[in-house]
Symmetry: C2
Subunit: 199 residues, 2 copies
Amino acid sequence: MSKPLPLLTSTTPVERADAARNREALLHAANELIEGCSVEGVTMDAVAARAGVGKGTVFRRFGSREGLMASLLDHRETVWQAAVISGPPPLGPGAPPLDRLLSFGESRMLLHLEQAALIEAAGRTWGDNEAVRGFLNLHVRVLLAELGVEGDLTYLATALLAPLAVPVLRQQLHSGMTQEQMHAGWAELVRRVVGPAPA
Amino acid sequence: MSKPLPLLTSTTPVERADAARNREALLHAANELIEGCSVEGVTMDAVAARAGVGKGTVFRRFGSREGLMASLLDHRETVWQAAVISGPPPLGPGAPPLDRLLSFGESRMLLHLEQAALIEAAGRTWGDNEAVRGFLNLHVRVLLAELGVEGDLTYLATALLAPLAVPVLRQQLHSGMTQEQMHAGWAELVRRVVGPAPA
């Protein structure tokens, strides 16, 4: 996507154009720091230095390091949701619903694994993001309905999403499970929940 | 059970008999305070006053209010695990495995709902309890095997346990889901994961 629209996760009030540019530059600098070293390396000082602004500007914009991390997550979430809504299949529209669901799970798991450190650094600011949970639940519910699954689809969607949560993924990695096993396990779970195709 | 043995959750080194009695008395006082009012009412002062000891004794024994909460959870967990291992069916042994699994989920969900405030007050001390996770996963895995489920039973057990986690339950309650819907939803999930009985 060239320019994803702000979706459900946007918590930013309307900004003046220069403030928005400033904000983008700071998020860009923070992303470069993460790619260059690690989440730990993203201090308010380092972001200010890299973006060529004063440290006070970074604090005024994001409030705290946690706030900066939450903004970074918000940005990545927006890009990811845009890929689900309007990106290429099978994550985006156009593929059969089971392929979309499996692609959704694999992609979301990868996103969470990559961002586990960021999510931890963002603390509660991120964990309580109801808008994100709402988007994920709705998407899974719609695909389950397309697959002809009957019953309490809200519950089943929550149940399919629960093992993709960052703490669960971290526990699985910690206990020696590989990412391949986690992908395969989730796919097996989905196939069991979806059941055989309706006659 | 009159006197459950300390099971997998015990983190207490061997205590002298008087220290153990002292500890029991303090946990008993804390439990009475919870039943009498709420988790918020359980301060170190209140526990000391109720047990008739100095506040210093409570601090020496549990380190902090979080430590006290973790000990309370530990105690309740031990009682619950004893019920799973050797209590009456269908939670305990002697019932068909599907009945045991459904009873396990319902009972665990209730325990978590009752103890959500306690678990929050205990903070990370409790959330990271690997021994409890290990016990739960093993129990579900064994029942799935008895039911003839094939595949990655460790993953499937984790997936069945994930929607019973306290944060998920809290979100469901917050979104207006009733406890009956949560029980019925989990039972539906289990039936789908277990599939039809083997021929």
